[in-house]
Amino acid sequence: MTQERKIRVLIAKPGLDGHDRGAKVVARALRDAGMEVIYTGIRQTPEMIAEAALQEDVDVIGLSILSGAHMELFPRVINALKERDVDPAEVLLFAGGIIPDADISPLKQLGFRAIFGPGTSTEDIISFVREWAKSRPLTAA
């Protein structure tokens, strides 16, 4: 039986804050939307996140952060991905949590295609991922 190409998503929480309710809600919503969601738990270093993305060959990476350390940690995630030959441009990167408006533009320049703040509906995140998936190349090789 030939399998349809599943959307594989990594949901991770970099840094030291342990507030993972939002990450879990998003992980569950994407699962219920038919995606395969790898959830790594809290307190991940940028290297751990990049390793998981490499080994799991995910299409999408969603980072959740509430500690305020995103401008420090997110660039390190991008670098760690590049070091592992995972091209951030080929992966859909998005972020959620408490991220001030002023930081959105620099994060988008860094490669994050969307920032979802408090009050975002999970439907918005699901359709955002699905829209992107339609346009991605079909072969992983």
Binding site: M1, T2, Q3, E4, R5, K6, R8, A27, R28, L30, R31, D32, A33, G34, M35, E36, V37, I38, Y39, T40, G41, T45, E47, M48, E51, A52, L54, Q55, E56, D57, R84, D85, V86, T139, A140, A141
Partner: protein, 310 residues
């Protein structure tokens, strides 16, 4: 990039190429099948260890502890961790990495999460192919952790060299253990969470059962507490002793022949079904017969004959 190139990079030790190859194999694409064809002759060197047991028995935590011990002994590792696909949404939440945090920064450990994608039996449909790739990549040991298994999910034993069945205290009386299925596939039995009450009782019940085992080889029963890191060294010893036993003249060969037969027949069966469904589905015969069986006009056996006979 062509599959042949990708596989060449995999064989040169490139982890990104390994990861991409695993995706092609998991999606059962023509490229994935080509990759398996290129890799298969180079596989068969790794010790494949299956870990199975009921949901919540501590398989992931135990896998993590085993992996740490194997790394301490200098072995390189592939881990395939399987979690269930939802029969309703077809989505899956793959959470085994949470229990293996200590390993995730070790480049000699490659952990891949897989969803069952509708397969029964405790494995994902492409698990064997993924194991082949990790094996050909050069991993010394490939650990396969099944979904939380009930009594009848025995597929892992048809793929692994060594099957470890994980039990926990308080999970049923000795009649449960006498039932057929998962208890019979164990090469090594583990009483995990052995710090809990009734661990002694379970160990004794298992010991009594194993005495009655017809296979001849005594099945070791080990007590572990994965969270307390107890009993892990002895478990690795038992797993390695089983491998040594397999490597005795004739034993491993017979084991691998049984596995090859099973895998070959399973794949051939799937291809035949796909072919029949594609042909008769297009002709409308399939739906026609489905209706007749549902209305009790034709019995299922006769309908199946008609479906295959065309």
């Amino acid at each position: 990039m062509s599959v042949d190139n990708l596989v060449a990079r995999l064989l040169a030790g490139n982890r990104r190429a390994l990861s991409r190859t695993l995706t092609l194999i998991e999606n059962d694409t023509p490229e994935g099948r080509r990759a398996i064809a290129l890799l298969y002759a180079r596989s068969g060197k790794a010790h494949t260890v299956g870990l199975t047991g009921s949901a919540g028995s501590g398989k992931s935590t135990l896998s993590g502890a085993l992996a740490k011990e194997l790394r301490a002994r200098g072995r390189t590792l592939g881990i395939v961790a399987i979690d269930p696909t939802s029969p309703f949404s077809q989505g899956a939440l793959l959470g085994d990495r949470i229990r293996m945090q200590d390993l995730t920064s070790d480049p000699e450990v490659f952990l891949r999460s897989m969803a069952t994608r509708g397969a029964l039996g405790g494995l994902a449909p492409s698990t064997a192919g993924v194991v082949t790739a990790l094996d050909a990549f050069g991993k010394d040991v490939v650990l396969v952790e099944t979904v939380g298994a009930g009594q009848d999910e025995v597929e892992v034993a048809r793929m692994a060299d060594t099957t470890v069945v994980v039990l926990t205290p308080g999970s049923g009386d000795d009649v449960q253990a006498m039932k057929a299925g998962i208890m019979e596939i164990a090469d090594v039995l583990v009483v995990n969470k052995s710090d809990l009450p009734y661990a002694d009782l379970l160990s004794k019940q298992l010991a009594a059962l194993v005495q009655q085992s017809p296979s001849g080889r005594p099945i070791p029963i080990l007590r572990t507490s994965a969270t307390q890191d107890e009993g892990i060294g002895a478990l690795v010893d038992a797993i390695e002793e089983h491998r040594a036993y397999l490597q005795q003249a004739g034993v491993q060969q017979a084991h691998r022949r049984r596995q090859a037969r099973h895998q070959l027949l399973a794949l051939a069966r799937q291809r035949l079904i796909d072919r029949v469904v594609a042909q008769q589905g297009a002709d409308g015969l399939l739906e026609d017969l489905v209706g007749k069986v549902a209305r009790r006009e034709v019995d299922p056996h006769t309908a199946a004959d008609q479906l295959i006979g065309g």
